[in-house]
Amino acid sequence: MNLVMIFDALLIFSMLTLGWMSIFSLSLFRCIVFFVCLGLLAAIAWGQLGAFDVAIAEAAIGAGITGALLLAAWNRIRPHRTKAIEPNLTNAKTSQKDTREHV
């Protein structure tokens, strides 16, 4: 049991927790955020396993693009959308607003 093993175990434990939370969290927004975190941790884990190509792809596609898609879709289905229909409103702003709503 060396340091690397402990790191691995911690990583795996947090990934499993994030996996659970990204499905069963209370608000959908948190689910998405947890899923993106899961993707980033997965990228670290795969670097750990020597798969650097996959790590880059996972960080860029699995966490990045999928996360962006999920957030965009979430933005479309969340309630009170009709007030915030202004096209210039950026994602960052709206997501901030929502965290306040749901905290």
Binding site: D53, A55, I56, A60, I61, I65, R76, N88
Partner: protein, 249 residues
């Protein structure tokens, strides 16, 4: 289990029908037990195809084994995978607005300073890094998919404010979207004539051909991923007009 597809925002997280709960817990438990037993009884193949791949890597034209597998040994899979991406783009892209220009710049009076700075400084860096990834894919981690994803991420950033707009249904965009598939198929079938079999790269040109295919793949993947993202943003405007249209009727 799929009978109720809920899209209400504030619904409960869990579908509380006892049957599906019990069944899934049983299945999950069984699955875990069974597969962990497999993992622990570590017999079977120990190295997979690794020795074979290292043996043939010199014949593939690249030195990064993953690029060799993706674009030479199993290039057929990659070709079909690009087709999968295209299927989804086709299914999602709106079918109107064919004649608007491919790319346009709009002057917006109200600018978000942070976003502007990001666009100015980070985007070129990302583009350069993506180019590097693409180039480096031949001998170290990197390649078309990673570069395409990075570029798509950069373009998401670019189009966040409406300063730049790309019309993904214009003729130009459609050509670029299918570019990689066309190039892939053309090279693949042309090689039947020269080498006698589908996608058999001649040794002298294999590195070059792979780089060509990867470059085209990067362009198409960038555009595909960016258009997937934009469909969620843009469809808002379209759906609004849709809605107006309907009420007028």
């Amino acid at each position: 289990m799929f009978n109720k597809l809920d899209i209400e925002y504030d619904g409960p997280a869990v579908d509380k029908s006892a049957l599906s709960l019990i069944a899934s817990v049983l299945v999950v438990g069984l699955l875990l037990a069974v597969t962990i037993k497999i993992v622990l009884s570590d017999k079977g193949h120990n190295t997979g195809l690794a020795p074979l791949i290292t043996q043939n890597i010199e014949l593939s034209g690249v030195t990064n084994p993953i690029t060799a597998v993706l674009l030479n040994f199993r290039a057929y899979d990659t070709l079909l995978e690009i087709a999968v991406l295209l299927v989804v783009v086709l299914a999602i892209l709106p079918t109107r607005d064919h004649h608007a220009p491919f790319f346009k710049r709009i002057e917006v009076s109200k600018q978000n300073l942070v976003l502007l700075a990001l666009q100015r400084w980070i985007t070129p860096a990302v583009v350069i890094f993506a180019g590097y990834l693409l180039w480096a894919g031949a001998h170290q981690p990197g390649g078309a998919f990673q570069a395409g994803a990075l570029l798509a991420g950069a373009s998401v950033l670019m189009f966040q404010s409406d300063t730049y707009q790309v019309n993904y249904t214009s003729f130009m965009a459609r050509v670029l979207l299918v570019l990689s598939l066309v190039v892939f198929i053309t090279i693949g079938t042309a090689l039947i004539w020269f080498e006698g079999s589908l996608l058999t790269y001649p040794l002298a040109f294999s590195g070059l051909l792979i780089l060509l295919i990867e470059t085209c793949a990067t362009v198409s993947i960038t555009l595909a991923l960016a258009s997937l993202y934009s469909s969620f943003i843009a469809s808002e405007n379209i759906s609004v007009t849709d809605h107006k249209h309907r009420t007028i009727k």
